[in-house]
Symmetry: C2
């Protein structure tokens, strides 16, 4: 009953860019920092980073575009925070694949017996 094309509300064409956004060390660091210490301005997020502020800004844009982060302007600074809903979707996507794999194994076992 499961096609390889769509999985619980998260089409393959949408899941790929989501994982791609997670597939960069600098961005994972940003997410970990946001998750660990809560919201912060761009300058906050730059402290300790090995790359320039512009680079961080671009990564934040990628994360925001992927729905993993949202930001708002506060005075002269932009405050970013984690948007965990999208993480749950990625989470669920991996679940579906694992489950398909399990049932495929089961079918295989059935054939063998």
């Amino acid at each position: 009953m499961s096609t390889a094309e769509s999985t619980n509300g998260l089409p393959i064409g949408e899941a790929a860019p989501l994982f791609a956004a997670l597939g960069d060390e600098t961005r994972l660091r940003l997410l970990a920092r946001l998750a660990d210490r809560g919201p912060g301005s761009i300058t906050d997020l730059c402290s300790g980073a090995r790359v320039s502020r512009q680079s961080i800004t671009k990564h934040l844009v990628v994360l925001e575009h992927a729905g993993l982060v949202r930001s708002r302007r506060e005075g002269r600074e932009r405050v970013c925070e984690l948007a965990p809903g999208r993480l749950q979707e990625a989470h669920g996507y991996l679940d579906v694949i694992s489950r398909q794999w399990d049932s495929a194994l089961e079918r295989l076992r059935f054939f063998v017996e």
Copy 2:
């Protein structure tokens, strides 16, 4: 007690390439197919794909290098199958970040009160 640097056994420098491997539509299709219909040869996996066999081969190499797929030679063909352990690790990684986010929210709420 959680640093932003490492999360339960999956260092950030290892998680990034793992997600990067998941961040491509063609590769997600391959994984979905392997999960859904079980192991298959490269030619099997090429049927229905929009890209050349060489392209599929390269994607399989990426997946195998990321630990998501393993393959063995069988006669003149190479049979690939899903290696679900790695999926679980990615799964767990997202879990950790979500959990950190939750506790960060809780700390924040504590400060406000």
